[in-house]
């Protein structure tokens, strides 16, 4: 397939991540692009290294490293974001890092920059249809708010003569995904997952290859210049359908329904102890390597024997990976399932309760973008991958 990207030199930031990784892969395999990947942590580059991709050391916080990486690139896909560390550090990576990328692209006269944003720039969205005309709302959470700053910074470069397009993916899932693929599977396996209001909220899911396709079109299509595009699947599913698909892969139900208020209360009581030193020490003692070493000591053996003399319910509360239930007032205590419940971070509660329907009409109209993966097909591939990946 000959495309405008064939033989073009393309910089991808975040290429060791989920979306950037799949993008880099398809740019090489399907488009024959010369891909250069900005890599901060080479320990994450094993899959990327399967291709003839130039791995360039760099960090979004270091402008000179981005400048070196962007030299000679016609296209820049900016997928990297602050995924770890403290909130302030993540803000710097998202906002200042994006400016570094755009500055380098401007200096080296890139044909187009595609900036990867997120649907969370719209904040806590109301029920009903949502499109790009909706206001961007701050929520006080570092990731979402700094992505607003990053998006604004990116589009400000249009006036300086740089062609920028912004894609705003929704809930991205698929092979090698973490937040909405591996993590839910691991959580459902290790305990119980809270769904809000029975999972009746809308999950605007999009399969990773559809996001990548939208990004590639946004890089080469004239009409993408200076525009933002929401990118989602053909139709939303409910969160219940989302988790049911994963539960089906694992072969057992593992969700528990709570109202937003119950979930918030549960987070306060069950999530809060993790902030204390004692809870951190207990969490550290639960690490398998530490457990093994402690278990081998004479005192450890005595403790194990004492532990096995405890009632079963108490043993489950001490031994689980998540947070055990405390007291009968808890909404799950009555259903007889003693597995620990994973607290749901407050930033996710409104997100999972909302019945927002993300519209992709603009991407369809201006770019001719049509998602190829409906929920059934996307989950079918994801299930086949999860089995291969030994996650089930």
């Amino acid at each position: 397939m000959i495309t405008p990207l064939t033989n073009a030199t393309v910089l991808v930031t975040g290429a060791t991540g989920f979306i950037g990784g799949r993008l880099a892969e398809r740019l090489v395999v399907e488009h024959g692009a010369r891909v250069r990947a900005l890599v901060r942590n080479f320990g994450r580059a094993a899959r990327l290294a399967r291709y003839p991709i130039e791995l360039v050391p760099g960090d979004l916080r270091a402008a000179e490293s981005i400048d070196r990486a962007a030299a000679g690139c016609q296209y820049v896909f900016h997928c990297a974001y602050g995924s770890d560390g403290e909130d302030d550090a993540r803000r710097v990576v998202n906002a200042q890092g994006t400016r570094h990328v755009l500055e380098a692209a401007l200096k080296h006269r890139a044909t187009r920059v595609v900036h990867t944003s997120t649907v969370t720039v719209y904040g806590d969205t109301p029920d009903g249809p949502l499109d790009e005309r909706a206001p961007r709302r701050r929520t006080g959470f570092a990731y979402a708010d700094s992505k607003i700053d990053a998006e604004e910074a990116a589009l400000a470069y249009v006036d300086r003569g740089l062609s920028v397009a912004v894609v705003q993916p929704t809930v991205v899932y698929g092979p090698f995904g973490n937040t909405f693929t591996t993590k839910p599977l691991q959580m459902l396996k290790s305990g119980r997952v809270i769904v809000i209001n029975g999972g009746s909220g809308l999950a605007n899911l999009v399969y990773v290859d559809d996001v990548v396709s939208a990004m590639i079109v946004a890089a080469v299509h004239e009409a993408a210049h200076g525009e933002r595009f929401l990118v989602s699947g053909p139709a939303p599913a409910t969160w219940r359908e989302f988790y049911t698909a994963y539960e089906a892969m694992l072969g057992r139900p593992s969700t528990i329904s709570m109202t937003p208020e119950e979930a918030r209360r549960f987070y306060k009581t069950a999530g809060a102890p993790h902030s204390t030193l004692a809870a951190q020490i207990i969490a550290a003692l639960r690490h398998p390597a530490v457990k093994r070493r402690l278990a081998a000591t004479r005192e450890g053996q005595l403790a194990i024997r004492a532990f096995h003399r405890l009632p079963a319910g108490l043993r489950a509360r001490i031994g689980g990976p998540g947070v055990a239930l405390r007291g009968a007032a808890n909404p799950a205590a009555s259903d007889g399932d003693a597995r620990p419940i994973h607290p749901l971070h407050p930033s996710k509660i409104a997100f999972m309760a909302a019945k927002t329907h993300v519209r992709i009409d603009k991407a369809q109209r201006l770019l001719g973008f049509t998602p190829q993966f409906d929920f059934e097909r996307g989950m079918h591939v994801t299930g086949a991958w999860a089995e291969w990946a030994n996650l089930l």
């Binding site: 398809r26 320990g43 094993a46 991709i53 290859d209 278990a295 973008f369 291969w388």
Partner: protein, 310 residues
Amino acid sequence: MDPVAERTAHLKKTFGIAHAFADHRDALPHIDAAIVGIPHQYHAPVAIDLLTSGIDVLLEKPMALTTAECDAMIAAAQRSNALLAVGLLRRFAPTLRWTKDALDAGLLGRVHAFDVREGLVFRWPVKSPAMFHPSCGGVTADLGAHILDLLLWWFGDCATLAYRDDAQGGVEADAVIELTMANGVTGRVELSRSRDLPNTCVIRGERGTLEVGTKTDSTITLTPAGGHAALTGRATTPAQQPPGSLVDLFAAQMMDFVRAVRTRTAPAVPGADARRSVALLEACYRHRRPLAFPFEPLLVNVGAAEARSA
């Protein structure tokens, strides 16, 4: 020795090291022995320089990626009478040593087959892209070097093999090797840098099945043929008691190297022994065929949307 000044400075400070060098040749007048743990493509040139100068070398696995490089290193060691030991660490693991002894003693009777699945989502703190250069090899050269060495140690020479991996112009993250050993035992090895696999070798024989953890502090599960219960436990040696750790194995390896240097006798894994697994590595890469993942056929026409609109 490290070519990056920042890292040598860090090592000097952290471990109180008096001398650090940016080039191994600068170190030659100052050293008696060397531990070489650099990216695989540099093993042979660096080790040959050291051995030629009469310096004893403990070389990380894989010894090299070609037997020609192994032969050059072995010849250099012979010429100068220096020792060449290879860091095939798992030879020092009590569990894997026990497996060798059990197989040799005929615990399973005639062995029919083995099945190795070893992998972890790669997250080693790699500091440079050198490890992902095609000349360094991928998961087969990295994890596969251990596994192929164990298989040769346990079952003897390999007669034939078929090999597939997922490299597409770079280095493989996943690979599958199917082997038939000279004694008729057949088996499959699955290696991964992109998945957490069970890290086990299941060995099936006429008298039972042995499942051995291939990592360093693993367990052994023995199920007699037709049996209803399994025996699970860990192997120990006087020097290595459970729980055991990677540090214990490195200590055992270092002790062996020091013993070999002091007594001028062969190390546990001399170059000529390690060369056998390199010959298999070389055969794998020579006979490479593409590896397709089970989910990939479901991904036809993923680019249809962009092809139309672009």
